[in-house]
């Protein structure tokens, strides 16, 4: 499986030390000081207004504390911007390498009306046009060595294509007309042959354009959950605004009047600056984490939905099983010696290059080496109509294939198929395997069935554990397969999935998704074929394989560039991690306020009411340094948490109750304790400053 990341420069960016990333993001962070840029985050806007207010007051009446508070209030805003800018900066490098794909190329557009009588499209005349003038529906011809001028589907020909610039996978892939491997991406390079492509995207709306917009975060729209959280944060800010403004009057009454500077400092410390500053960085970083795993999410909403998924539809082949069957046993019919069956099975598989054929050779011989095919042999290849393959030797014919096909072959030659064969076939099917009947006919003899080869679907290692994990997270897995119910049930049992959809047609899939959604459950699935498109569109999270058709890619809300269906599970985990990170930092931010009260309130009122010194549990050196320390802590904690926001909090699949336990302890209790330590340490430093 391809484990490369999207593009080399991207991972290089992520690997560089944070300090470098911070420095590079500084200009962008400064630009974001524009209040209009802060409108989306009322909390940070309040901080900036507070900073403006204290700046004015400091200019009018300078003092050590007021200068300190003012500087650190500005830094608080700046640090918030910095977090966002760093998150965005990570995408920039990726975007640049993608932009290189977009340089204008020349395209050979076919002219003239389609004329079936003229045969191949490749023979039609072509005109040279710039790639930017191509419109959906245009047909272009691309020859080896040329760049494909736009997204589209191959309508004629076969070619190997280098898609490494988009997927990071260096091995070329085959693209051919018809079927599920017809989609090509603009900017990729044809390595061999000639193909005709029907363009499917408008200029500026291609897949690469969308990728660029996504990695740069310019298309980022705030997700429903983020908006709801913002409402809560804004209302907390409103409450604290009321607290601080009324405190001005109430303190006056108590003859403990407070300066606007101190009240502004109090306000900024109380409002949830930590989470507000990091909120958008968390969202961008979540998309970025998906990109690191080569999954393109078309919207942040989809990433968030991934965290909410209740049901996963997984295709059996390639996802749950290895994708090919392996021979695991030879079951001869009663009077046939084991060696005869083995010999016939081996003979019929010598030229069989399918994984099934290879596995029969391996089972019989005990190793992978295959003996040469006898020179006298005539190979009978597998075909969809005969559903069997074999070999003809002088005086001997061997066939192997589906039970019904081989039985018919035997009966056509006036042979008899015993009951025992039927029983063996039945037994294998029931256990989830695929029976392969082997028969031979020797010259002058009646044809006879020698026995049955048991082909087994091999469940990928570790899947059982993975599904158990998902179950503990409250996610149900449904295996989708074209197999019959008996076989499907046996594999489902072995893999440990919760449910199974056997003999599934695309319509069945769609109906299943609708049914689950009716019951209020969110469904994720992946698919590649055109007939998967309706189901992909209906699913809450639809991951299309990059190898799939354009229709599938457009119907889904994510594209997996590696075309690895197992990744659906990773996608769910990243979605959850995104939400957890938001929740954890919100809790941390609110819990911080407790300690800040213990720092600031005694400092504010201890002069008027000496008794309040008892509340100065941190024994901060002076009222001024207490207030300044709280403000500094409030700003520094943002920088300290940037790595966490970008990386996401640690997530191990477990039940909601266990997650809550753990995160409440770390971010709730930790959020109460941490600032006591932090503010005390900062106070020790601040109190050594002259004038403080």
């Amino acid at each position: 499986m391809n484990t490369q990341t999207l593009t080399e420069p991207a991972s290089a960016t992520a690997r560089r030390p944070l300090s470098v990333q911070l420095r590079e993001a500084l200009p962008s962070a400064l630009r974001k000081l524009d209040p209009r840029a802060l409108l989306a985050s009322p909390v940070m806007l309040v901080v900036e207004l507070g900073a403006v207010l204290t700046t004015v007051m400091t200019v009018v009446d300078p003092g050590t504390t007021s200068v300190g508070v003012t500087i650190w209030l500005w830094l608080t805003v700046l640090f918030g911007n910095l977090a966002e800018a760093v998150a965005e900066g990570r995408g920039k490098a990726q975007a640049d390498s993608l932009r290189a794909l977009q340089e204008e190329t020349t395209a050979y557009r076919l002219t003239g009306r389609p004329d079936p009588a003229r045969g191949s499209l490749l023979d039609r005349p072509a005109e040279v046009v710039p790639s930017t003038s191509l419109r959906p529906g245009d047909l272009v011809v691309v020859t080896a060595g040329e760049r494909i001028p736009g997204d589209g589907d191959v309508v004629e020909g076969v070619a190997s294509v280098d898609e490494s610039a988009v997927t990071g996978e260096s091995a070329p892939v085959i693209r051919e007309s018809g079927g599920d491997r017809s989609a090509v991406t603009g900017g990729t390079i044809v390595l061999s042959d000639r193909i005709v492509v029907r363009i499917s995207s408008e200029p500026g709306h291609s897949f690469v354009d969308r990728m660029i917009a996504l990695v740069e975060g310019s298309e980022r729209q705030r997700t429903p959950n983020e908006i709801a959280l913002n409402v809560l944060l804004t209302s907390l800010t409103a409450i604290f605004l009321v607290v601080v403004v009324t405190l001005y009057f109430i303190a006056d009454h108590s003859d403990a009047g407070q300066s606007v500077l101190v009240l502004t400092a109090l306000l900024v410390c109380l409002i949830p600056t930590t989470i507000s500053a990091l909120l958008s960085a968390i969202g961008i970083a979540g998309m970025d984490r998906l990109l690191q795993r080569n999954v393109l999410a078309m919207s942040g909403r989809a990433v968030e939905a991934a965290g909410d998924v209740d049901v996963l539809l997984l295709d059996k082949t390639g996802t749950i099983t290895l994708g090919n069957r392996q021979a695991c046993a030879m079951l001869p019919v009663a009077e046939v010696p084991d060696a005869d069956l083995a010999d016939a099975a081996l003979l019929s598989s010598l030229a069989d290059e399918t994984p099934e054929g290879r596995s029969i050779v391996a089972l019989v011989r005990g190793d992978d080496a295959r003996p040469p095919v006898p020179a006298t042999a005539t190979l009978v290849p597998f075909s969809a109509s005969t559903r069997m393959s074999g070999v003809d030797l002088p005086g001997r014919s061997v066939r192997k294939g589906a039970a019904s096909a081989v039985s018919r072959w035997v009966e056509e030659q006036r042979g008899v198929v015993s009951h025992q064969v039927g029983e063996l076939v039945e037994g294998i099917s029931r256990s989830g395997g695929t029976p392969l009947v082997v028969a031979e006919q020797r010259a002058g003899e009646e044809p006879r069935v020698l026995g049955v080869v048991h082909l087994k679907d091999v469940v990928k290692p570790g899947m059982r554990e993975r599904f158990a994990e998902l179950r503990s997270m409250g996610i149900r897995t449904v295996m989708v397969t074209g197999d019959n119910a008996t076989t499907a049930a046996a594999i489902a049992e072995e893999a440990g999935v919760d449910d199974v959809l056997a003999e599934a047609t695309p319509e069945d899939k769609l109906a299943l998704i609708r049914r689950e959604q009716e019951g209020g459950r969110m469904v994720a699935m992946c698919g590649d074929g055109t007939n998967d498109a309706p189901a992909l569109a209906q699913a809450d999270v639809g991951v299309a394989m990059n190898t799939g058709t354009t229709a599938a890619k457009e119907a889904g809300n994510m594209v997996d560039l590696d075309s690895d269906p197992t990744k659906l599970i990773d996608v769910v985990e990243i979605g959850k991690q995104l939400l957890i990170t938001r929740g954890a930092l919100t809790t941390f931010s609110v819990a911080n306020d407790v300690a800040k009260y213990f720092a600031i309130l005694p400092a504010m009122f201890v002069v008027a009411f000496p008794g309040l010194d008892v509340l100065n549990v941190m024994r901060l050196s002076s009222p001024e340094s207490a207030i300044l320390s709280a403000v500094i802590f409030n700003a520094l904690v943002i920088v300290a948490l940037i790595p966490l926001a970008l990386r996401g909090v640690r997530y191990r699949p477990s039940s909601a109750a266990a997650l809550l336990n753990r995160n409440l302890l770390i971010y709730g209790v930790g959020g109460i304790v941490a600032p006591f330590v932090g503010i005390k340490l900062i106070d020790l430093l601040v109190s050594t400053l002259p004038g403080a």
């Binding site: 429903p224 809560l232 405190l247 009454h253 209740d310 997270m473 939400l579 009411f609 309040l612």
Partner: protein
């Protein structure tokens, strides 16, 4: 210490009684709000009111019904107060002043029962019985109805925002719950020695040989609903400290029981209505936990009696009745401020400084432990939504409570709800302390004066109605300010809660799985309690620091 045993004894008896009554009454309440059957007196009432008892109202219609019904009550009370001298049974009292009549009308309609006047010196029997006592019943029924509508909203799935019929809820609350229990309660109180008569003032000869008029009246009947409906408006100014209202420790305990009876049972009923008993149990546990802690702290504060004067006197008995003692007063104090009752059997003004602060903190919690009849439940449930939202993200899913997703629209309503009371309390206090008319009412200056103002505004905004004492509130300024706080503090949250109920009723109830945040486990109980204390603490600590906390520390 000899005081400890009775203190523990009364607590044990109370807990045992509540443990017995809560599931019983809770079951009855759940049936009351979900049954399809109408009793005969109810059918009669519906015909009189010309309402269809089976109409399923949208939240808007429900809210308009609540507001309309309350407005009528408000106007009626205002009229009774202003026209008192022209009406029978006035006992010769004059009309209430305009601002006073407004204050009283709002106060009783809003289930607050803040009394700026002395009941025995300003209100005649007609105003007391036909006005105030009637409102004691119906304002309580309104609160219960809104809570029932909210519970139904959570219980339903895709019900198009329909939350039930207000008129049915109202009438059933009265006929099936409040009236029967009040009758039993009044009888028990009368047996216990509470006065019940229709006499005017009687002259009695005092010990010193002088003569003094003493007013009797239908005290026991008002007393029962005063506690049962978490109203708190006393027949006498001294409220439950008056020997005619609350003569013995036994009646004292009975009154405390009546105060807590319905609020706890509502939580149990909630679990039954949403068809998940454990959810009701969790809410109940949070209520019990918060009330238990505050009672323990308050009792400690009063019995340990920190401070110079109590130490010299040998106990913090100033402002308390000898027949109840410190523990009996503390328990009553915690119960009355933990609910929205506001009846008092001691002067909270005279509690020790930390004790006074605790009663304020109880009210600031939004009276959710266990809160007013109905209002306690919906207040707690709104906080549960906040807790779910804060913590729910931490389990990696869009937060949901009882299978209802909490999205932007819901959180806006919740945020407005959570904002309303703090804004009223803090802005009201700041205003009162900044204008001469406000300051004029304060008895003392400094931190204790601040506490007097803060307590009054907190009590009004949270619809508690208890007074700290010391504040002269019967002035136009205070009557208007507190009246406004009571009105907004009652009806703004009600409308928001009903809107939220409508949202929930329209949404699908999602099935719970291992991935959903469990809201019935002990962890959630701790979390919800923590969220309540921290959110409220963060809002009010600065002003509490300047009032009771400074007092306690100096």
């Amino acid at each position: 210490m000899s005081d400890v045993l009775p203190a523990l004894g009364q607590a044990v008896v109370l807990v045992a009684a509540l443990a017995l009554s809560t599931p019983l009454l809770g079951g009855h309440l759940a049936r009351t709000y979900t049954s399809e059957r109408h009793l005969r007196p109810e059918r009669l009432t519906y015909r009189l009111l010309r309402v269809d008892p089976d109409a399923d109202q949208t939240w808007r219609t429900y809210a308009l019904s609540v507001l309309g019904f309350s407005l009528v009550g408000l106007l009626l009370l205002f009229g009774l107060g202003r026209l008192q001298q022209h009406l029978p049974l006035s006992l010769g009292f004059d009309a209430l002043p305009a601002d006073g009549a407004w204050n009283t009308a709002v106060s009783f309609v809003a289930n607050t029962n803040w009394q700026w006047y002395s009941g025995e010196a300003a209100a005649g029997h007609l105003l007391q019985a036909a006005g105030l006592t009637v409102q004691n019943f119906v304002s309580a029924a309104v609160g219960m109805s809104v809570a029932a509508a909210f519970a139904r909203g959570l219980a339903r799935s895709r019900a198009g925002g329909r939350v039930g019929s207000f008129w049915t809820d109202l009438v059933r609350s009265l006929v099936r719950v409040l009236v029967p229990i009040a009758v039993v309660g009044a009888t028990a109180l009368a047996v216990g020695g509470v006065v019940q008569s229709w006499h005017g003032p009687r002259d009695v000869t005092t010990l010193t040989g002088g003569s003094q008029p003493v007013l009797g009246g239908p005290v026991a009947s008002q007393e029962a609903i005063k506690e049962l409906g978490t109203n708190g408006g006393g027949f006498f100014n001294a409220n439950s400290a008056h020997p005619f209202e609350n003569p013995t420790p036994v009646t004292n305990l009975l009154e405390i029981f009546l105060i807590l009876l319905i609020p706890f049972a509502m939580a149990w009923a909630f679990g039954l209505i949403v068809k998940d008993k454990r959810q009701g149990g969790a809410v109940l546990a949070v209520m019990a936990l918060l009330l238990g802690v505050s009672t323990a702290l308050l009792t400690w504060a009063e019995m340990a009696a920190p401070g110079t004067a109590p130490t010299l006197a040998g106990g913090a008995m100033e402002g308390k009745e000898v027949r109840f003692g410190e523990a009996g007063s503390a328990l009553f104090g915690a119960a009355t401020t933990g609910t929205s009752t506001g009846a008092v059997n001691a002067m909270h003004d005279s509690f020790t400084a930390p004790g006074g602060g605790l009663t304020m903190f109880n009210m600031m919690l939004g009276e959710i432990a266990p809160g007013g009849v109905g209002s306690g439940l919906y207040g707690m449930l709104v906080l549960a939504v906040v807790a779910v939202f804060l913590a729910g993200l931490m389990v990696g899913r869009t937060p949901e409570y009882l299978g209802k997703k909490i999205s932007q629209r819901e959180i806006v309503l919740v945020a407005l709800y959570v904002l309303t009371t703090p804004v009223l309390v803090l802005a009201g206090t700041a205003l009162a302390l900044s204008v001469p008319a406000g300051l004029a009412g304060l008895q003392e200056s400094g931190p204790h004066g601040l506490s007097e103002a803060l307590y009054a505004v907190t009590s009004a905004s949270n619809n508690n109605g208890s007074a700290f004492g010391g504040l002269t509130s019967g002035t136009p300024f205070w009557n208007t300010l507190l009246g406004t706080c009571m009105l907004l503090g009652r009806f703004v949250p009600i409308v928001l809660v009903l809107a939220l109920a409508g949202r929930f009723a329209g949404a699908q109830r999602l099935p719970a799985g291992a991935g959903t945040l469990p809201t019935h486990r002990p962890l959630f109980v701790v979390l919800l309690s923590g969220v309540a204390v921290v959110v409220v603490g963060l809002t009010y600590v600065p002003v509490l620091v300047l009032g009771p906390i400074v007092e306690s520390l100096s």
